[in-house]
């Protein structure tokens, strides 16, 4: 129960601070954010868009861990856990894509410009989209679980490359690209201590929110499966 209250307070604080704290050229107070050239007020998206991308990675990683667990123990509960995580990973991957595209419209001039970051997340959507197609194509439970576990592990191999490496070594529009002289790497992002603190609080808040969503999602899937077995 306590962590749910902490979650509420975290998300409430991050939402208020992330939207209302002013951006000034030379921050003097703790509640002021530094101005990043070329981004301006748009920079505040970092508190809401980056966590969705972060959760994509966390969720897909969790899905892989439970997939490995499934292959070791052949326990169908692990398969359901992995599936629930992959589902949420997909939700947040889509959210990261849409929020990024809306932001890009105003920061870069068009919703979609095949920037390395956009290309890589598009590839990731396709790769994980295929996982769900695979799952729905196999009827036998054990076979479905084994196949999707193997696929999920192979799919995750591409995630670090698509999210962390490719968009950083290629030239592009996204902050943190190889030729980005304004913002620098995403983690530094020319943030001051205060902005960094709120950014990390946001990551923590969204991670707890993700865990909660994953937990209820997985439980509901588990009971649905149990009922199906009981009655059919």
């Amino acid at each position: 129960m306590i962590w749910k209250i902490v979650l509420f307070l975290l998300i409430a604080f991050v939402s208020i601070a992330g939207i209302t704290f002013p951006i000034v050229a030379k921050p003097e107070h703790w509640y002021e954010f530094p101005l990043i050239m070329g981004l301006g007020e748009n920079a505040k998206i970092i508190f809401f868009h980056v966590p969705t991308a972060w959760l994509t990675v966390i969720a897909f990683l969790m899905s892989t861990v439970y997939s490995i667990k499934y292959l070791r123990n052949k326990d169908l509960v692990d398969d359901i856990k992995a599936h629930s995580a992959a589902q949420l990973g997909m939700v947040f991957c889509i959210l990261a894509t849409i929020t990024g595209a809306v932001w890009a419209k105003f920061a870069w001039g068009s919703y979609w410009s095949w920037d390395p970051r956009q290309t890589s997340i598009f590839a990731l959507l396709l790769i994980y989209g295929a996982l769900f197609a695979l799952r729905s194509a196999v009827e036998v439970e054990e076979k479905r679980a084994a196949l999707s576990a193997v696929y999920s592990i192979i799919a995750f191999v591409t995630v670090p490359f698509f999210i962390f490496i490719m968009p950083r070594i290629m030239r592009g529009l996204h902050p943190g690209s190889a030729d980005d002289t304004n913002a620098g790497t995403v983690v530094n992002f020319k943030m001051n201590g205060n902005m960094q603190l709120i950014f990390f609080l946001s990551l923590i808040g969204f991670t707890i929110l993700y865990y909660w969503m994953w937990y209820v999602g997985y439980k509901s899937m588990l009971y649905k499966e149990k009922l199906n077995k009981q009655y059919h």
Binding site: S15, G18, I19, G40, E41, N42, K44, I45, F48, H49, T52, L88, V91, F92, I94, L95, I98, T99, V102, W103, K105, F106, L209, M213, V216, G217, S220, M221, Y223, K224, L227, N228, Y231
Partner: protein, 49 residues
């Protein structure tokens, strides 16, 4: 019109983005709700037999 307004008042873009994230969370809740309804139906239906 809207585009011009938004590019001048970038904070509303941030608001839109927050709303999109919330819409995603709501979509997930909606799917979850449907799944639970399904479970409920199955349990209730069994009682009726």
């Amino acid at each position: 019109m809207l585009e011009e307004f938004l590019s001048k008042n970038a904070i509303y873009i941030v608001m839109i983005i927050v709303l999109i994230v919330w819409a995603g969370v709501f979509g997930f809740l909606f799917a979850l709700n449907n799944r639970i309804k399904h479970i409920e139906k199955e349990i209730e239906g069994d009682k009726g037999k």
